[in-house]
C-alpha cells in the first residue's frame, strides 16, 4: 500500500448514494431495505476504497444530467442512421478511420468521452495514443472527416471539459 | 420437447466423451467441461422437465422438482473444482514433462525415437 489512508466513514460519498439507490431499486423501497441498503452503501466503500484511485468530482450536476440526456438522444438518432446502413447494400458504405485530437487527458473524462463515442452507433473508439493526445475512431460511414471530428469534440469533449474542469 | 432435450444431452455426452478420448490435456479439459454440461443437464432432467414453475414457493400449485436442481448445483460446484484442478495439473504436466500429451510424450516423438534407435 502506498501510504496508510486515514479512515473515513464515507470514503466515496457519490458511490454510497448510488449504491443505496441501486439497493432500493433492487428491493422496491421498503423500510427494512432502506436501513440494510444504507449499511451496504457504507460498508462496501470501506472495502473498495483501497482499490480506487483519486477521484474527480463533477463541477456541475446539472451539466452531468444534460450530458447524459444528450447522449441518450444521440444514441436513438444515430441508431436510426446505422439501421439504414445495415439494410442498404455493403457497397454504399464508406468506412474510415479518423484521429480525434484530444484536449482532455484525465482518465475518467477520457473514458467517458471514448465511451460516448462508442455508444453512439456508427463510431467506435479504437485506440488511444500513448501520449493521450489522439483518439483513433472507426466510422461506419464517413461523409466529411473534419466535420465529424468537430462534431465529436464539440458535442462530447467540450461538455466533459466543463464538467470536470480539466 | 423431451426428445429434443434428450438428443442434446446425448450429443453433448458423445462430444465430451470423444474429446476425453483424445491425447492432449487441454483437449481433455475442454471435453470434460462439455461432458459436465451434459451430466448436469441429465441429472437435472431426471426429475422431469417443467416450464414456468420454479421451485420458489408462491401461490402456485405446481412446482418443478427441486431435488435434482439442488443435486445439480452441488454437481456444478464440484465439477468446477475438479475442472480447475485438472487444468492446473495439465499445466504442471506441461511444466514437468515438457509437452502436453497425457502420456508425457508425444506419440510421434516416441515413434521417431524408435526409428532412430
Amino acid at each position: 500500500m502506498d501510504k496508510v489512508r486515514n479512515f473515513s466513514w464515507f470514503p466515496m460519498p457519490y458511490h454510497s448514494i448510488l449504491l443505496w439507490l441501486v439497493w432500493q431499486i433492487l428491493h422496491d423501497f421498503s423500510n427494512g431495505h432502506m436501513v440494510l441498503g444504507a449499511v451496504f452503501a457504507i460498508v462496501i466503500p470501506w472495502i473498495v476504497a483501497p482499490l480506487s484511485e483519486k477521484r474527480l468530482v463533477a463541477k456541475s450536476h446539472i451539466k452531468v444530467l444534460m450530458y447524459t440526456f444528450r447522449l441518450l438522444v444521440d444514441i436513438v438518432v444515430s441508431n436510426y442512421d446505422v439501421a439504414k446502413r445495415v439494410l442498404q447494400s455493403n457497397r454504399s458504405l464508406k468506412p474510415a478511420f479518423i484521429a480525434v485530437p484530444l484536449d482532455i487527458n484525465a482518465p475518467v473524462p477520457l473514458t467517458i468521452f471514448a465511451s460516448s463515442v462508442s455508444l453512439t452507433p456508427g463510431t467506435v473508439s479504437v485506440e488511444l495514443s500513448d501520449d493521450k493526445k489522439w483518439l483513433y475512431v472507426h466510422v461506419l460511414h464517413l461523409e466529411d472527416e473534419q466535420e465529424l471530428i468537430n462534431l465529436i469534440k464539440h458535442r462530447y469533449e467540450a461538455p466533459l471539459k466543463e464538467i470536470f474542469g480539466c | 420437447m423431451e426428445l429434443v432435450y434428450a438428443i442434446c444431452v446425448g450429443f453433448m455426452t458423445a462430444c465430451g466423451i470423444f474429446l476425453m478420448l483424445r491425447g492432449h490435456t487441454f483437449t481433455l479439459v475442454i471435453g470434460l467441461t462439455l461432458l459436465s454440461y451434459a451430466v448436469n443437464l441429465f441429472l437435472f432432467a431426471s426429475g422431469g422437465l417443467t416450464i414456468g414453475a420454479p421451485a420458489v414457493l408462491s401461490s402456485n400449485e405446481n412446482y418443478a422438482d427441486p431435488l435434482p436442481q439442488a443435486l445439480v448445483l452441488t454437481a456444478i460446484v464440484i465439477g468446477f473444482a475438479m475442472t480447475a484442478f485438472a487444468v492446473i495439473l495439465a499445466m504442471r504436466g506441461r511444466s514437468d514433462l515438457g509437452n502436453d500429451h497425457v502420456d508425457g510424450t508425444e506419440p510421434f516423438d516416441r515413434l521417431a525415437a524408435e526409428e532412430k534407435s
Binding site: 441501486v22 436513438v76 468506412p95 474510415a96 473514458t111 471514448a114 462508442s118 455508444l119 452507433p121 479504437v126 | -
Partner: protein, 121 residues
C-alpha cells in the same frame, strides 16, 4: 392492464427486438471486422434498452409498485458495452484484420497499431 400500456409495451418489445435483429444482421453481413464491430453496440444500447423498458413497465403494473430493476441492466450495458467494443477494436488492430479496400485513412489504423506495438515497425 390498460390497453394503452399493453400497446406501449408491445411496441417497445417489437421495436427493441427489431433493433437487435438489425444489429445482428449487420454483424452477419458487414464486409469487414471493424464495420461488424458497430453491430453489438446497437443491440446493447437501444435494442435491449427498449425491451428492458417494456419489462419494467409490465412488471410495475403487474406487481403493483414501481419497478426500476431493469434500468440497472441498461446502466450496466451502457457502461460496459463501449469498453467491450474498445477492447474488441484493440484486438482487431492487434490482429491486423483485413479491412475492406474502401476504408479510408487506413494509415491511421497502422499508426494506432504502432502506438501499442512499437517493435513491429
Amino acid at each position: 392492464m390498460t390497453v394503452l400500456i399493453e400497446v406501449v409495451v408491445s411496441v417497445l418489445l417489437v421495436f427493441g427486438s427489431v433493433v437487435m435483429l438489425i444489429g445482428s444482421i449487420g454483424l452477419a453481413k458487414f464486409p469487414d471486422y471493424f464495420t461488424r464491430l458497430h453491430a453489438p453496440t446497437k443491440a446493447s444500447t437501444l435494442g435491449v434498452a427498449c425491451i428492458l423498458t417494456a419489462s419494467m413497465i409490465f412488471f410495475s403494473i403487474e406487481l403493483g409498485h414501481l419497478n426500476l430493476k431493469e434500468t440497472l441492466i441498461s446502466m450496466f450495458l451502457l457502461i460496459t458495452a463501449p469498453v467491450a467494443a474498445h477492447m474488441l477494436a484493440k484486438a482487431g488492430l492487434h490482429y491486423k484484420v483485413k479491412m475492406t479496400d474502401s476504408t479510408e485513412n487506413q494509415h491511421l489504423a497502422k499508426k494506432a497499431y504502432l502506438h501499442k506495438n512499437p517493435d513491429d515497425a
